[in-house]
């Protein structure tokens, strides 16, 4: 694969596979155990479940706002330089971003307490990668056009905001039906960071203007930082061989890396038998990065008017190296710093909320208007309505402020074996995001598949966002 194909497929992946972590298709999809990860206070009907290791939850989501692969590479006869200039360099704003999120469950399970059947415990391990980059508009213009024709224009260094994480998460959650109306839950998380880089607090500018002595002055005012952990360990391992990289990733992922703690909270409340509200807050937590830390900084202010030879002072030292003096002066004014100090990052906290109205009783003999108790039979009848409609709100905390999404959904249940969900989601990436989800129960086997932004896939290359998720579980509604 040559470089341009690699770039194409990377951009395609970026723009189509993955998005801002919103799992609107999975949230409160009560037939799927993995929905507990989005609301530890979700109503749980099953007695136990076990995810198939490595297959219980595979999730990929990606997004680009403002630009798609098609915008640049469409075979439309336009000059690519015009497209890059108009649609990317000058077309994107600083709130446009590119993001990738991936998750894979390594271990997943849950069981109901024998002594307190209203309690359901869930646990597991999953790996997660999350990367976001905001479009550095001024830096892109500076790189594309240069400063020569932009005298007097400030290039804002704060436009650079980017962050990436690869980590594993060990979690244990408790879900309790407090009464017939209210179910609440909490999940504790132990984060084991494999690698992290963060450059989100940059400030300063670069400016070229008419000089005081010479013709031009280049001014750099910088307060920039890049913090990283784990990169050096992986770099050193890569110098050895591939197996060393694998063992380094596993070592750091299995509590041998930087550690952190987090909590999820959630609840489900029945306003009446047919109307339910839910909410959850996820990843209220932090990671303390202390191993393999490499931090870089550029802080200070310097103005440069080139080499200056001012007589008679210059006559005093005929051997003076004016160029080196200039370089040394700039480096002293804006020192490039390196250190290995520990630092803390906060997880991107997510907030979900929903309201759901259900109707349509089945013709089953078990059917009842359900203020269900926690007995096995009653639990099985909790989600007996054939139809549900509702709305969801999703908010995630990002380096440039919260990102929100609104979703309307319709659920349809066919017997006890099939549940379908359709969604329409409105967010900064798309106004036409329709999704479809399916959960199939065949005996003890639960299979689910979820995909969103289906309309955009009519031209995959033009999609700004999409996500895809599937998984396989063994679960039981029987008494344990």
């Amino acid at each position: 694969m040559n470089r341009k194909h690699f770039i194409f497929f990377f951009l395609l992946l970026l723009s189509t596979l993955i998005r801002a972590q919103n799992k609107q298709l999975l949230y409160d999809f009560v037939e799927i155990p993995q929905a507990l990860m989005l609301n530890p206070g979700m109503e749980t009907g099953y007695d136990w479940y076990a995810g198939i290791p490595g297959l219980s939850g595979i999730y990929a989501q990606g997004a680009t706002s403002g630009l798609s692969v098609d915008d640049i590479f469409a075979d439309d006869g336009l000059d690519i330089n015009d497209k890059v200039r108009n649609r990317a360099v000058f077309g994107l704003g600083i709130r446009d971003n590119q993001s990738l999120t991936g998750q894979i469950e390594v271990l997943s399970g849950g069981f109901r307490s024998r002594k307190r059947p209203q309690d359901f415990y869930s646990f597991g391990i999953y790996g997660e990668s999350d990367w976001i980059n905001y479009w550095p508009r001024d830096l892109a213009i500076l790189a594309y056009e240069g400063n020569a024709d932009r005298i007097g224009e400030r290039f804002d260094l704060s436009h650079l905001k980017t962050r990436g994480d690869v980590l594993s998460v060990f979690h244990f959650g408790v879900n309790r039906q407090l009464n017939r109306q209210l179910t609440a839950g909490v999940r504790a998380k132990l984060y084991s960071s494999i690698l992290n880089y963060t450059s989100t607090s940059n400030d300063g500018y670069f400016l070229t203007r008419q000089g005081q002595n010479n013709l031009l002055t280049n001014i750099l005012v910088a307060d920039m930082r890049l913090r990283s952990s784990g990169l050096r360990a992986l770099e050193n391992a890569a110098d050895e061989d591939v197996s060393e990289v694998t063992s380094t990733i596993l070592g750091r992922g299995l509590l041998g890396g930087d550690l952190g703690l987090g909590l999820d909270f959630g609840f489900t409340y029945k306003l009446n038998p047919q109307t339910v509200i839910t909410a959850s807050i996820l990843d209220l937590g932090f990671i303390y990065h202390f191993s393999d830390v490499d931090n870089f900084s550029l802080q200070g202010r310097a103005a440069n008017e080139g080499v200056e030879i001012i007589l008679p002072d210059a006559l005093d030292d005929p051997g003076a190296d004016f160029w080196q003096e200039l370089v040394d002066e700039i480096e002293a004014l804006i020192p490039f710093g390196e250190d290995t100090r520990s630092y803390v990052t906060f997880r991107p906290t997510k907030l979900y909320g929903s309201i759901k109205y259900s109707w349509g009783m089945p013709r089953s003999s078990f059917a009842q208007d359900c203020d269900c108790d926690v007995t096995a039979t009653a639990r099985a009848n909790r989600n007996i309505y054939r139809n549900s409609v509702g709305g969801q709100l999703f908010v995630v905390n990002r380096p440039r402020g919260p990102q929100a999404a609104l979703t309307a959904f319709y659920d349809r249940r066919l017997g006890n074996f099939l549940a379908l969900r359709s969604t329409y989601t409105l967010d900064k990436y798309s106004m036409t995001n329709f999704g479809l989800g399916l959960s199939l129960q065949a005996g003890p086997v639960n299979f689910y598949i979820l995909a969103d932004n289906l309309l955009a896939y009519q031209n995959l290359a033009a999609a700004h966002t999409a996500s895809f998720q599937f998984g396989l579980n063994i679960l039981s509604w029987g008494d344990n």
Partner: protein, 183 residues
């Protein structure tokens, strides 16, 4: 069961069809992508009061070679496409002067020379732009191989008179403007 099969069929078909659709993309366009910013910066500033010129032992009041690595840094030398250097000479002294700027390579060989003759004050500011590269400019190799600059100042008048203008001096200003190929 029929309903189940039907639902699954439609779902998978929808996903498959949707994923199969990609408008024609032309990846060869990537070869045509050109990123060529034009950068600008001041280069050298030389200033000498008339008093220094008068006090010099001979006509040559200043001669100096100095290191200048801005042009032969790999990042610049490998990417420069074309450009220009602008000089501006302002003479407020009472004598005509000659200023010579030479670009030197590592072995101090002269690669390029520009000489400026400027009348005694009052006289207009002399501005000159020298182009490098392109169809009509001087060779870009001059720029790529420059690692030093020689400044030579010659007094073409007397060494006793003093200009009536305030703070009389000769000033040379210069800046470069170069287009680089980043891609």
């Amino acid at each position: 069961m029929r309903l189940l099969k039907k639902s699954l069929h439609y779902f998978l078909l929808l996903i498959a069809v949707q994923y199969a659709c990609v408008d024609k993309q032309n990846l060869d366009q990537f070869d045509d992508l050109s990123v060529t910013p034009t950068v600008a910066s001041s280069l050298v500033y030389v200033e000498s009061p008339e008093e220094v010129i008068n006090n010099a032992a001979g006509a040559n009041f200043y001669a100096q070679d100095f290191n200048f690595d801005a042009f032969n840094e790999d990042f610049f030398a490998e990417r420069v496409l074309e450009g220009s250097i602008t000089y501006e000479i302002e003479n407020t002294t009472s004598k005509p002067l000659e200023i010579t700027i030479s670009f030197l390579d590592d072995a101090s060989n002269v690669l390029d020379t520009e000489t400026f003759l400027i009348d005694a004050a009052p006289t207009a500011v002399l501005t000159r732009e020298i182009f490098y590269g392109g169809a009509t400019g001087r060779s870009l190799d001059i720029i790529r191989n420059t690692s030093g600059i020689r400044v030579f100042g010659l007094n073409l008048g007397d060494n006793t008179s003093v200009s009536t203008l305030p703070d009389p001096r000769i000033v040379l200003r210069s800046s470069g403007r170069f287009r680089l190929r980043l891609r």
